[in-house]
Symmetry: C2
Subunit: 328 residues, 2 copies
């Protein structure tokens, strides 16, 4: 059994990661390449990045040993509906020497599986955007938010960035001296925190600096909020609390009251010991006091684990999960 | 003195209105033409619409009698900074036979002057966007919001429309049966209020229906909120209350506590007896109990009144204002 290898791919907008592991939980190789999302990069480019990551992970591994594979990516349903995208992925798979079939899952399911082997639970992701999903029998079930920056993504990095700019504009309108966070936002947007003699000129310049770029780039201001919150800055602390309330409200739309299944927190703003993760843990813990709270981990390893689960020879998926994701 | 005529123009995005009045308050003529904002329509087209409205208002009036004129438009500062725009307006003025000078003011000042002759006070406008301004000596002083849909316009028609869609998406996420307002929003966006067997398909289709158009067009859903609020629909009532709180907060940024000067309410959502106007009157009345609350009226007449004020022969501006804007 330990001869059998499974492969996982975690395909994101900025990087693609691959993992090759044995059913005994031994990691044989890891690979990394550029963003491989076919929606944003095109099918051909995505296939190239996949192949690069796969070949790196499989260096020194006989590809005939690979019995199953899983690709996790955002917009998985779109890829499956697009024959060109699917064909490009098939080619990348074959070019890496793989002959076994592979499954495609949404990145939310992979993030969930990186935090827990439990078949049922909830995953909450906050990065540039924000989405929550119920998982049932290790399949995505109902989804909340993920509606994009114009209509949703409440509590996301975009949301934090936009709210930080709105607080800056409110300071300028009110002729209040900006605080530490709004000063940092002004400096980041304008290259200087200087306010013009007519504050309205700085208002106009700030709006122009934001609207010159795609709206979603407001998310790049989120780290300023996180940093300021770590310093106890009051506006940043308020924004983090509001974001956490929005995220918990999204979970509330889909997670039954009193549920005791795990809640996995993923995405750049919730993975690890961030202020937003702490605030979300408090909010979620208040509403579902019996929910085990987990942090998302290595997505490529989680994708490999999802692949292994499909093999009849894997008798104890939880034990393999524990080996792949040891508790620190 | 009653021989002297003044001319006012209220230039908007969808229509341009002109008024010719005597210093005694007699209305000699009115004109109307298409949208004449040089920023959105180009200077040439704007000049044509101005000329059309002016000529109509001056039919039967000897243009040599016109001693002063005022043009009110959004983005007045931009026009004054743009030599081409200014030249086009000069030409329209001359083509209408006018030889007197004219002043250009922001539409917010004109809206203010259409509600009160008091030199100092506050104007709050909510239509597609939202803006508040302090008026000092009949000049715009400090401004709050007007930051555009991405970063501001809190409580505007855009805001109401976006929030109505967000409530619809929350209903769909939660598998709640949509209420009267969110059903109306779904029907307006999709041509039918039918929800797909997988509610997420309706979520995706709703988001696509919104993102196919420019974001600002979310404002066209605002009338649905207003209509539902008139019927006492609970979600619409909540959104109107939230919008009113946002608008009052914008006023709060610039209006001194305890001020007793008038507050003029303008824009499509606040002019007349609308649910949002009623809610704003309550909010503003709570914060500034001694503020006279006024509704904006005929912008072209207000522009003409602002022009008349510049003439030394006008001895009683308040009396002229009372004649142009009789209390109902």
């Amino acid at each position: 059994m330990s001869d059998t290898v499974v492969v996982g791919l975690d395909v994101g907008g900025t990087s693609t990661r691959a993992a090759a592991v044995t059913l005994a939980g031994q990691r044989l190789g890891s690979g990394r390449a550029g963003g491989g999302n076919p929606t944003s990069h095109g099918a051909e480019r995505a296939a190239t990045e996949l192949r690069t990551a796969l070949r790196e992970a499989l260096a020194g591994v006989d590809p005939a040993r690979v019995a199953a594979g899983t690709i996790g990516l955002a917009g998985a349903a779109r890829l499956l509906a697009d024959p060109d995208g699917r064909a490009a992925f098939d080619r990348a798979w074959r070019d890496a020497g793989l002959r076994c079939p592979y499954a495609v899952h949404g990145d939310a399911l992979v993030a969930y599986a990186s935090g827990t082997p439990a078949p049922d639970g909830t995953v909450l992701i906050a990065g540039t955007g924000a989405i929550a999903a119920q998982v049932h029998d290790l399949r995505l079930d109902r989804v909340a938010d993920g509606h994009g920056w114009l209509l949703g993504d409440a509590g996301s990095g975009f949301w934090l960035g936009r709210e930080a700019v709105r607080r800056l504009l409110a300071d300028l309108d009110s002729a209040r001296p900006p605080g530490a966070l709004t000063t940092a936002v002004l400096a980041e947007l304008m290259g200087s925190a200087r306010i013009a003699p007519r504050a309205r000129d700085t208002v106009d310049a700030t709006i122009q600096a934001v609207t010159r770029r795609p709206p979603v780039e407001l998310a790049r201001l989120a780290p300023l909020v996180v940093t300021a919150a770590l310093d106890g800055e009051p506006v940043a602390t308020t924004l983090i609390a509001e974001a956490a309330a929005h995220l918990a409200e999204s979970v509330d739309r889909i997670r039954p009251a009193g549920a005791r299944t795990p809640v996995v927190l993923g995405g750049g703003l919730l993975t690890g010991d961030t202020p937003l993760a702490a605030a979300v843990r408090t909010e979620v813990g208040r509403r579902w006091p019996d929910a085990p709270l987990r942090s998302a981990g290595d997505g490529a390893a989680a994708a490999a684990w999802l692949a292994a689960r499909e093999l009849p020879e894997l008798t104890d998926p939880a034990a393999l999960h524990a080996r792949l994701f040891p508790t620190p």
